[in-house]
């Protein structure tokens, strides 16, 4: 296994708890320590409610930890202001959600180009890039379709193309195949594998299914907010 030495994600003694309006505190993540290097393909598993999504939201700078450090690409995320966090999400991160989360009333091309548009790119720049990505995910026929005209699998491909648009270092995918059948799920996972192997993009995927996790090289398991396993997929006894 070849890994570049620079750590992309460094998590130290990370805690996250939710506090309701009534003041009830729910601890979710407890003392999580983790380092992920550039070019890794990581699967995160664990029972429902164990804190996987919570962890992904912190990794994605969508939410902030209660305690502990999170260094992304050399930057201490907690010290960033809103604008800097937006820049980081735009340039370093790519998101793929379980529910696809495409913008309604915009074509596939427009959706894919959104991160570039947000970065202030002109149409002459974003349009070719979006078309190139849609071809790569096998949607060259549906460039100008609206999200509601696409199947779930097609929508997820558009979402993956969108996550790739601004050349991210890491793509975070929270149950990307949760709403898809097994054939489509395998197509999507092959796409991730290709991005990881050919372009060296770090991929972190949350899943409940062992055969989905089997596409990854490294496996992390959560139970009740505690990181209980960190090792290779093979050692965990999972086979593709």
């Amino acid at each position: 296994m070849q890994q570049s030495p620079s750590p992309l994600v460094v998590v130290n003694h990370l805690y996250k708890q939710y506090e309701s309006d009534a003041g009830v505190v729910t601890p979710v993540l407890k003392d999580v320590n983790l380092t992920i290097h550039e070019g890794e393909f990581v699967a995160i598993m664990g029972p429902s409610g164990s804190g996987k999504s919570t962890f992904m939201n912190v990794l994605g700078c969508l939410d902030v930890q209660t305690d502990g450090d999170y260094i992304l690409s050399g930057q201490d995320v907690r010290r960033l202001n809103n604008e800097q966090a937006a820049e980081l999400r735009n340039r370093v991160l790519g998101f793929v959600f379980q529910g696809f989360n495409l913008l309604p009333r915009r074509t596939a091309v427009h959706n894919v180009a959104m991160p570039l548009i947000c970065a202030g790119k002109e149409k002459v720049e974003w349009e070719p890039r979006a078309i190139e990505l849609l071809k790569k995910v096998g949607l060259s026929e549906r460039l100008h379709s609206m999200p509601n005209e696409l199947s779930g699998g097609q929508q997820q491909r558009v979402a993956i193309a969108r996550a790739m648009a601004n050349y991210p270092h890491v793509v975070l995918a929270d149950e990307p195949t949760g709403n898809l059948d097994s054939t489509t799920s395998n197509d999507i996972m092959n796409l991730f594998r290709e991005l990881n192997e050919k372009e060296g993009i770090t991929i972190i995927v949350v899943t409940h299914e062992p055969d989905i996790a089997a596409y990854a090289k490294r496996l992390i398991k959560f139970r009740d907010g505690v990181l209980v396993y960190d090792g290779t997929v093979n050692d965990a006894g999972i086979n593709a």
Partner: protein, 410 residues
């Protein structure tokens, strides 16, 4: 790096287009508000113009001294009822400092006949100064001159309304002989149109004849030298207060009034009357304008309401865009732009409707309405300001949403 201006504009356009009916209804509030502001201001301006025209038609820095209120044996008569002023009083006043001219006049009503047509109108005996003081010019023909007054000639200068009612065509008027109380007068001149006076009387419904002719031949009474009014033109507005006192003193002396008896004449400062009429006009404009502004305010609240609904509806969409890396400032700008596009488009349509409405009002209300450039510019600025003001709070709410909260929103 934030989004390009075109991209933000495009996003705003897509969002407004997604809810065309709602965008239109929101716009309707602004359309009605701006249209009523433009319409009401134009009506107010029209009324003010009318008042100003009447004031201008009167001549500036004027007093009118009316005879009257002579107490004869304890019985007070109405103002102007018994002639207490004389031609000589006008000469007294003319001699005072600050007076440009003092023109005595003796008005009365009479039936006028020309061939088969007849017309009841006001006949005023005047000296040549009278029309000068009133700044009233001839349309054609000649004026009454000093020789006419000295010789009490039977000549007449007519207002346009009188001409229209007596003669089939105005060209016939000059040189024709009309009969006033069966006395023949030669028409020597026609006056320019003056329009309505402040009281709403048609000033052009009039005939002017030499003062002496009126005193001796037409309205003859036991006081052959009497006049009912004296028009006094002052040099400037500044001297008017002092002049009013000087005139009072001079007239009381001339009329040999005892220290404690009341004036047997009335001095009216027409400039002051004009000013109060102007103030009334302005107050009316203000009232109309403020009523209209309320509807604009309601329209603005409508924008805020819809924008807040729109932010709530699009919470998830905002979350997705934030996850992708949209800046707060871009989202703020987009929502603000949506509000301003609604209000500004509404402003333009409302302005056009307001102009059309004021055009219709000119016909139906018989007031020459006046859409001023100021009210057009004002409605644009106010419409944009309404959009920014009422759009800002919802836009800021959208921009400040935390990405995770927005994404989780169901």
């Amino acid at each position: 790096m934030s989004m390009t201006k075109q991209a933000i504009l495009g996003e705003a356009w897509v969002s407004l287009g997604a809810n065309k009916m709602r965008s239109f209804l929101t716009m309707l509030g602004i359309i009605i508000g701006v249209a009523s502001v433009v319409l009401m201001l134009s009506i107010g301006q029209g009324v003010q113009n009318k008042i100003q025209d009447s004031i201008n038609s009167m001549g500036s820095n004027l007093f009118i001294v009316l005879s009257g209120s002579a107490s004869t044996g304890g019985i007070r008569m109405g103002s102007g009822s018994s002639p207490t002023l004389k031609t000589s009083d006008a000469q007294e006043i003319a001699a005072l400092n600050g007076v440009v001219a003092a023109a005595p006049a003796l008005p009365g009503n009479a039936q006028v006949v020309f061939n088969a047509s007849n017309w009841a109108t006001q006949i005023t005996g005047i000296t040549p100064d009278y029309l000068k003081v009133r700044e009233w010019h001839l349309l054609s023909g000649a004026n009454i001159n000093d020789a006419d007054v000295r010789g009490a000639t039977r000549v007449a200068v007519l207002g346009t309304t009188t001409v229209e009612n007596l003669f089939p065509s105005p060209d016939e008027a000059i040189g024709s002989i009309i009969r006033i109380k069966n006395i023949p007068f030669e028409v020597i001149g026609i006056l320019e149109s003056k329009g309505q006076s402040l009281e709403g009387r048609d000033q052009d419904d009039a005939i002017f004849i030499p003062l002496t002719t009126a005193q001796r031949k037409l309205f003859g009474n036991q006081f052959p030298d009497s006049v009912r009014q004296i028009m006094v033109k002052a040099e400037s507005e500044k001297v008017m207060d002092k002049l009013e006192n000087d005139m009072r003193d001079a007239l009381r002396a001339a009329h040999h009034l005892a220290e404690r008896s009341e004036d047997d004449f009335n001095i009216r400062n027409l400039t002051a009357v004009a000013e109060s009429a102007q103030t009334t006009g302005e107050a009316m404009s203000l009232l109309l304008g403020s009523i209209a502004s309320i509807s604009l305010l309601v329209g603005g609240i409508g924008i805020m309401n819809i924008m807040l609904v729109s932010v709530t509806e699009r919470t998830r969409e905002i979350g997705i865009r934030k996850a992708i890396g949209a800046h707060e400032s871009d989202i703020l700008l987009q929502f603000l732009l949506e509000a301003v596009m609604i209000s500004l488009t509404g402003g333009i349509v409302g302005m056009l409707l307001g102009c059309a409405g004021s055009f219709i009002a000119t016909w139906t209300l018989k007031v020459q309405t006046d859409v001023s450039l100021v009210s057009i510019i004002l409605s644009f600025v106010v419409a944009a300001a309404v959009g920014i003001f009422f759009g800002y709070y919802p836009a800021r709410k959208a921009a400040r949403l935390k990405p995770i909260d927005a994404l989780r929103y169901q």
